[in-house]
């Protein structure tokens, strides 16, 4: 009987804790792992030519069978979708870093799940650095 009571208390605690985490918390999706994720998703290139970098990103995404959805030179961003049974969405942005470098950041979702593993991003940047004839450096 005491065991049953403990179980009951445990279930009540679980319901109480889980009710605190509502689904709207996913709106911002930012926690302590955001910095780590940014590092996984970003690479630095030794160039200042934003337009050429964006055009090379588009070309790399096309080689990966993406259809481009949006492109904006002023914002420095490209988004595209790959359909292969699954839906793979990706947005890539380009920002200046200091006076001689650009940071390229990619973030992708597979269906409704954000990709947070490093390997897929590494694969993308490997393809991109080949196309850019430049080395993709990890952010310090």
């Amino acid at each position: 009987m005491p065991k049953l009571r403990s179980l009951f208390v445990l279930v009540i605690c679980f319901i109480f804790i889980s009710s605190c985490a509502n689904t709207s918390a996913r709106l911002l999706d930012s926690d302590e792992s955001a910095l780590k994720l940014r590092s996984i998703q970003s690479r630095v290139f030794d160039t200042t030519d934003t337009e050429t970098t964006l055009r090379t990103i588009i070309s790399t995404m096309q080689d990966l069978s993406f259809v481009i959805n949006k492109a904006d030179l002023e914002l420095g961003s490209i988004s595209g979708t790959k359909l292969k049974g699954y839906i793979l969405d990706m947005t890539v942005s380009v920002r200046p870093r200091g006076e001689n470098q650009l940071v390229v950041r990619a973030n992708a979702t597979l269906g409704i799940n954000p990709i947070v593993e490093p390997e897929p991003y590494q694969d993308f940047f490997t393809s991109l650095e080949k196309a850019m004839f430049l080395t993709a450096n990890q952010i310090d």
């Binding site: 337009e51 964006l54 096309q62 069978s65 492109a71 359909l83």
Partner: protein
């Protein structure tokens, strides 16, 4: 003693089950959505044509005209990066599928059949290393059945489709160049 034997047997079966699950999940492999496929160079060749013009904007104007001729709706454009995106939605019903659906209906079975298809295309221009401009088209197709489920999501790799598209575009570019 018998109970002990049964427990040991169940324990072994459970271990086997876990081993099989681990083996299967291990076979799932890593996600290869960002790895260049073996056919990427062939795809690039099928999807790209070179145009002997030094006017990127005129090439994009001609391309948007062809897309309009084909009933596409322009969704996005960024001429500074040579990007055009368009889509169209059309009926995907096949008469043979409808006939089969009717036959099944007599057996009180409602089978799903293709209903609507959406085509999406991005056209990207870039400077050709040997002069002129390259234009690369990528088409995608999504099919939804009459029960509102997606039955197909794919990039189109059919050589003939791209050939037809570029034939139309070549004519349009010629007409644009001649201002006809």
């Amino acid at each position: 003693m018998d109970n002990f034997k049964i427990f040991r047997f169940e324990n072994k079966s459970f271990g086997l089950l876990i081993a099989i699950i681990l083996l299967i999940s291990g076979c799932a492999g890593k996600f290869d959505g960002f790895v260049l496929g073996e056919s990427f160079l062939a795809d690039r060749q099928i999807q790209t044509r070179k145009f002997s013009t030094d006017d990127e904007k005129a090439l994009l104007v001609a391309a948007s005209g062809v897309l309009q001729d084909m009933g596409y709706k322009l969704e996005e454009s960024e001429t500074k990066l040579g990007v055009l995106v368009a889509s169209k939605t059309r009926d995907a019903t096949k008469i043979a599928e409808v006939a089969i659906k009717v036959l099944y209906a007599f057996l009180l079975v409602n089978i799903p059949i293709d209903h609507i298809q959406t085509f999406k295309v991005s056209l990207i221009t870039s400077v050709s290393p040997n002069g002129g401009y390259l234009l690369r088209a990528t088409f995608q197709r999504t099919v939804i059945n009459d029960q509102n489920r997606v039955t197909l999501r794919a990039t189109i790799h059919d050589k003939e489709i791209y050939k037809d598209f570029f034939d139309k575009l070549s004519k349009s570019v010629f007409l644009e160049a001649q201002k006809i």
